[in-house]
Amino acid sequence: MINTHSNHSASAIINARKLGKAVPTSEGTLHILASVDLIIKRGESIAIVGESGSGKSTLLSLLAGLDTPSSGSVEIDGRDLNRLNEDGRALLRNELVGFVFQSFQLLPGLTALENVMLPLELSGVADAEQSARALLQRVGLAQRLQHTPRQLSGGEQQRVALARAFVSRPAILFADEPTGNLDRKTGAKVIDLLFELNQEQQTTLILVTHDMSLAARCQRTIRLEAGSIV
């Protein structure tokens, strides 16, 4: 069955159909996303833009399997997320997905090196340390391996996060406003790195951003307004 799916949309790595998200609130049901259809091809880079509150992060979390939709479905690499339980989605993430967040999300207790090693260790890769070192070198932090996040600047932390995202060579990278917490210059540096690595690894990139110039560097841009693609 999985095979037929893969054949059916061989080039689509993400296939979202009629995706909807509604949450109950004290003032009635709030429809955050309404019937979003989206097919993302392997290796494609795509920017999601829209006003604050338009549902960008919500869409990203549904596509990445961090949350479950109220309606519709998402397939990643031919696997229907609705058919997976929480743990199944976790394994899928571990296998295929990398993340970069606005707020870096490094583990404060671990050094830069250990943070980068983390995804590899979780999937049981043997030479985690070597790969991690290589990637940290690649993002220009070869001298900061043993520093903890607290000892790093925001830009450096985000570079560590980039290294962590790419170290497991994910098929898909989700980035939610990766430069939101950085000044323009530092942000630009991080974005350059992100695109470089993306190029090198042929990763599918889904990037949420406010920044239109950033969006322009992606192959495709979709705009969200009040939970719908326009």
């Binding site: 992060s57 990203l60 979390s61 961090l66 949350d67 929480e86 743990d87 976790a90 394994l91 899928l92 993430r93 571990n94 296998e95 997905v97 993340f99 967040f101 999300q105 583990l107 404060p108 207790g109 671990l110 250990e114 983390l118 995804p119 260790e121 979780l122 999937s123 049981g124 985690a128 939610d176």
Partner: protein, 826 residues
Amino acid sequence: MTRFRLSLKLLWRDARSGELTLLALALLIAVGGTTSISLFADRLQRTMNLQAAEFLAGDLVLAGPAPVDPQWLAKADEYALSGSQTVEFPSMLLENGEMQLASIKAVSETYPLRGRLKTRDAELQDEVVSSRGPAAGEAWIDKRLLPALKLKLNDTLTVGEKVLKVTRVISYEPDKRGDFYSFSPRVMMHLDDLAATGAVQPGSRVHYAYQFRGSENALADFKAWLQPNLNPSQKILDIHRDRPELGSALQRAERYLGLSSVVVTLIAGVAIAMATRRYSERHFNATALLRCLGCTQAEIVRLYAAQFLVLGLIVSAAGCALGWLAQYGLFRLLKNLLPETLANPGGLAIVYGLGTGLVILWGFALPPLLRLQAVPPLRVLRRELEPLPSSGWLVYGLAAAVVAALIWRYTDDPKLTGAIIGTGLLVLLIFGLAIHTILQLSRRLLPRLGLHWRFGLRGLLRDSRAGVGQILAFAITLTAMALSFSVRSHLLDDWRRQLPDRAPNHFAINILPSSLADFQTDLQREQIPDSRFYPVVRGRLVAINGEAVQGRVSKDSQGEAATQRELSLTWSDRFPEDNQITDGAAWQADRPGQVSVEKKLADNLGIRPGDQLAFTVGNAQLAATVVNLRSVQWDTMRPNFYMIFSPGTLAGFPATYMTSFYLTEAQKTVLPPLLKKYPAVTVLEVDQILQQFRTILAQLTAAINLILYFALAAGFSVLFGAVYSTLDQRIYEGALLRTLGARRRLLRIAHLIEFGVLGLAAGLLATLAAESILYALYTRVMQIDYQVHVYLWLTLPAAGVAGVTLAGYWGVRDVVRQAPLRVLRR
């Protein structure tokens, strides 16, 4: 493997950054407390068994009116027990034309197995301690026999048909039986000479005793083997049966210590639960990230479980070491008081300590820890998402199970355990509901209050579940400590009352009326305080209201014992100090023919005020009317009597006098000359028994204080645990309020109000709980009249307010100190 390494790494980082300090501290206290107490109790128990064994001259004694089957002794050999044998019987001695009834004791070569004999020479000097009895052909005799039979040392003495040479005066015999007032003087001889006396014939009153000594296990096995084979006239004696006053003090102390360590565990457990709550809350983000990176829920649980397992093992090991040190220090402190032969601390207690540590940690930390597996990965994007709080059933159920297991271990009584746990949970539930309701009500009140109060109370109401939890936690802690303190003071008072510092430690009996005045003068000259002189007439109770007494008693009861031998009868116009009338009229003693009867004996024989009692004294008859019943404290080491008559009732009967008095170690030198001057008088030295009793109590008191320190430390860990568990939120809110323009003063006062109210509520609840539990304990278990503990009502709420406010104020000082910007940027 890599996961485990990751666990260790995370654990190490957390430990270094201080995340685990409070958790580890609470666990350390719990394990340290329980281990030191179980080590101490275990060691004390075994030391005391050694000591108590002295009073039996063996670890285990088999006693009966006939020799035992030789097979039994062979069995004892099989268990590798060493043994000795004694045979006791009364015999009339005739020397130099004088007659005296004596109690003969023939002892085997190995007697005494435990303890030592002490003998003196004719001048009552030159005390020699020996570990065996007289050699064959020799006799050691009671001092009283010298004048009574006109004997000197090295004279001969004929027991039955055997002639023995009197070589020593016996001054101390470890396993002397019988009460203080009524025993005939001793002649001790070798067992090999027994047959030659011809005194032991079928039908004669003989008491055979077999003492055994060996390892605890072997003794227990042997005892288990013996028990079904015993006939009704045979008895096994061990320390608990034979030394009831010691046994009960020990047992009570052991229970108290055991339950106190449960209290420590409970309090520390509360702290552990709180610290773990904070720990897991501070790990929500990291967990969300790990989930995001692909950790399954099971992996998350394993990751943290591994950390806690390692933490538990390390801290428990440290706790065991702490417990061992505390116990060691305690014994060192008490070194002067203790006997030289100290049992070694048991290794099992260490294993038990490790086990306890893990059980406590899991019991209290698991629910908040399990919450981590439910952290949604989406939290990486939406910080406000939190896992559901762990279910109350799990939290309280698990903790209750752990506490129940511990209580059960100490009480060995499933019913009592069930009752305690059930009541505890019920009280918690009621209190929880009450607090919840009160918090809800005060929420309504909020808008009408001033700014400071509004801010302060809002802190409490912010999360009413957490608020209830905190108040309950403090209330449990305070209750537990209050109980610990009250029961402790009760125990100690009890012991102090039983054994005041200068409790009489010598009895003088057999003081002839002719020498009474001289004896009193001599004591006064030496400045030895006595506890009054009482006349003693030996007599037997024969009938109650004309009905023979024999038929009224049950076998083996105190009543039976009292009717089968002569009682010491006395007369007085007032009772000994500690006697209290429980039934009947006041003691007027205005005419002869009145008697007051000790309550327990009266109950046993069915004697009521107004009954007519008949006695025989010698060949004469005597009648008296029961005026009242009296309670007597037998363990005060003062002369006490079953029967006290009104003066004049016993006129004309031959009486001797008795008293008890206190001698310091230095004053003991007055004894030999005194004994020489009054040959008829016998002085019973109970100072050794008393001293032993006292050292045991001192040890127990020290242990009780030690456990209280642990409880106190645990209490503090709860205080700080509670404050820290909400610290992050407070810091954040404080910073926010300050950026919005709140002044530090406002925040400070608001904190004070919040913690003050919290402490007050907890204190009041604790007072109620402690009072109810003490009420139940005193009236149901200890059967003592209950009085409201006024001091509880004052100290507990005050302690609650003071403790919580101070800890809280100190804990949140950072909230008002840190620059708001720094906090908000984090």
